[in-house]
Subunit: 362 residues, 2 copies
């Protein structure tokens, strides 16, 4: 018998990972609280619904579920390439940004490699890193923003650095000049995973240019938030064609479902949806800001479809969270300092916010 690890059968990487889930499901929290939620404002889902074009595309695709979708997803990738002015070979799809984070971690990381991120930023990225056997160096927020200077310094000994911009859960957006400087200062040996899940909600800010001639930056986008099709699982990366080609060695080739492909293709033509939702989101954000201020919690500046409120202390934040959950409102609370003194609320419609106003005690 050549093999002798009968007692511990799993891979070394799996053995090394503690039991964890990136997010407790809202359905599980409902069970804990003992009642169904009246308001679902905890997962930054679109309160304005899906793009009606996307829904139309989805409905058409449902008529031929028996066939596999094109594993190259040529139509959708071509449309994305055109939208962004990049080559087809620069676009790769995933089942949401989550899958792409996992794939890019597997693409770049060996066990023992180091990855730099912000402590308390998107936990599914941390989950993806641990799944490769690499180590995380997690740098705290500074002034409630991802600390670009500290990330740059730490990048010299790292293979990957993660930046969500706009950031979740802080809501902050580093402007074009700041991100450009950050990228310019990254060592050649470190790649940036730039998670732009919330970028379509920006009103006046201009994001950094797309440049797939450089291998340094991998940009990640999603159809979940602005286009409102989180349930379908559809995201994409814009990256150097060599990265995309190498991903073909490990990605799930028939992974992107046909309904998501059809819905995404239609959503890209729905310009009115983006403009309208961006405006509605901005208006409702003001309403939500004001609701917090009336309760003595201070909104952090939000560039996204959620608002994070500074409750003054972790205890006070937990009290707000508990009160809201028990009142039937699904919201979340950052778990890591310094943002653990905050609660995070998805921006709802005016109707939803009116209900929140009734349910949220001071």
């Amino acid at each position: 018998m050549l093999y002798s690890r009968a007692v511990v059968p799993y891979s070394k990487i799996v053995d090394s990972i503690p039991a964890m889930v990136p997010f407790v499901a809202p359905e599980e929290i409902e069970e804990q609280v003992g009642r169904p939620f009246l308001l679902r404002l905890g997962a930054n889902e679109s309160p304005f619904g899906s793009s009606s074009f996307a829904t139309k595309g989805a409905k058409a695709a449902v008529e031929s579920l028996q066939n596999y979708a094109d594993p190259r997803a040529l139509e959708l990738r071509s449309a994305l390439a055109k939208k962004h002015g990049v080559s087809l070979e620069s676009i790769v799809l995933g089942s949401g940004i989550d899958e792409l984070l996992s794939l890019f971690c597997r693409l770049f990381l060996d066990p023992g490699d180091t990855v730099v991120t912000t402590l308390g930023s998107y936990p599914t990225f941390d989950f993806a890193v641990l799944g490769t056997g690499a180590s995380l160096q997690r740098l705290p927020y500074r002034d409630d923003k991802p600390d670009l200077e500290a990330l740059t310094s730490a990048a010299s000994s790292a293979k990957l650095v993660y930046l969500a911009n706009p950031d979740n859960p802080s809501g902050w957006f580093h402007d074009k000049a700041a991100v450009k400087l950050f990228i310019d200062h990254l060592p050649e040996t470190c790649y940036l995973l730039l998670d732009e899940a919330y970028i379509e909600f920006l009103v006046n800010e201009v994001p950094i240019d797309l440049d797939t001639s450089s291998k340094k930056v991998i940009r990640l986008r999603t159809f979940s938030k602005m286009y409102g099709i989180a349930g379908l699982r559809l995201g994409y990366a814009i990256a150097h064609p060599e990265h995309v080609a190498q991903l073909d060695k490990i990605r799930l080739h028939f992974g992107i479902n046909s309904v998501a492909q059809a819905a995404g293709l239609m959503a890209l033509q729905h310009f009115g949806h983006v403009i309208l939702v961006r405006e509605k989101n901005a208006r409702c954000r003001e309403t939500l800001y004001e609701m917090g201020v009336r309760r003595g919690v201070t909104p952090l500046p939000s560039f996204t479809n959620f608002v994070t409120f500074d409750c003054g202390s972790k205890d006070k934040a937990e009290a707000h969270l508990k009160q809201l959950l028990q009142a039937g409102v699904f919201v979340r609370k950052p778990s890591q300092p310094p943002l653990d003194r905050c609660i995070r609320i998805t921006i709802g419609t005016q109707e939803q916010l009116a209900l929140l106003d009734q349910l949220w005690e001071s």
Copy 2:
């Protein structure tokens, strides 16, 4: 600078894998042939369409695409557990069997481990193994069947063994007694990935009992074939709860789209669909057998929704393939000996087979 692999930035595993895709897309073959297919009989998709219950579930789910699905998929997993008489904790979902193969490989395999499979069986499994840095030992078919004795012998130095039963592309089904003997003879240190994608097409044969008290066997099932929702990407594994719990460390928690979950749940209640499709498939199989015989190609016994025809030689098989593709019929040909002397045709409806009869030259 601690890190010095600037020239070769990818992980050691990715570097070690040759460029490959498990299947060339039918859409790509259409481009090569220069015309769209008239008949799509190459991917073992359901010619009888989707379960109408599944489509109904999908349509309902399309009305609320903005929300993430339950990452625990409690409803669907509970229904599957009930169907199979196992515990909820024994069921894990994937985006088709493909994703589950990749996940179970990552669960068990370290670089350098050995995995045993049948040469020329499901290529996506080989792809999943290579993605972990493990090595493949591929044993040839014997008498056009997976060689259980040879697989057993090789398993003594392997961590995983793969068996598709019924097998693709041979179409063969090893009966209950043979599989039970095979499992009993596997060393304690080797786990069996038992791919049962086509098992619902069995008419008279009884598959082996489900037993999740043993850790040795992981069974893989799909909604793609019998239920006809390949486009949605939905499969599941029945495995020991400890395996399932460990998979939670690396699986994509929000990966199974809401439309697939809803469609799958409804499909499980559609008993009439299974009975009807099984019967239709068996009848059309006889028609397809006979069409091959008239052309001097010999059908291998099929227990599935496809028939593999022995054309006598690789050259003759390639000639049939080429003729069919150019006539507008999408079919595939096994690439590895000894089955490379065959072509594989999905069982179509009687109407589709009538068209095939016109298009397939002797």
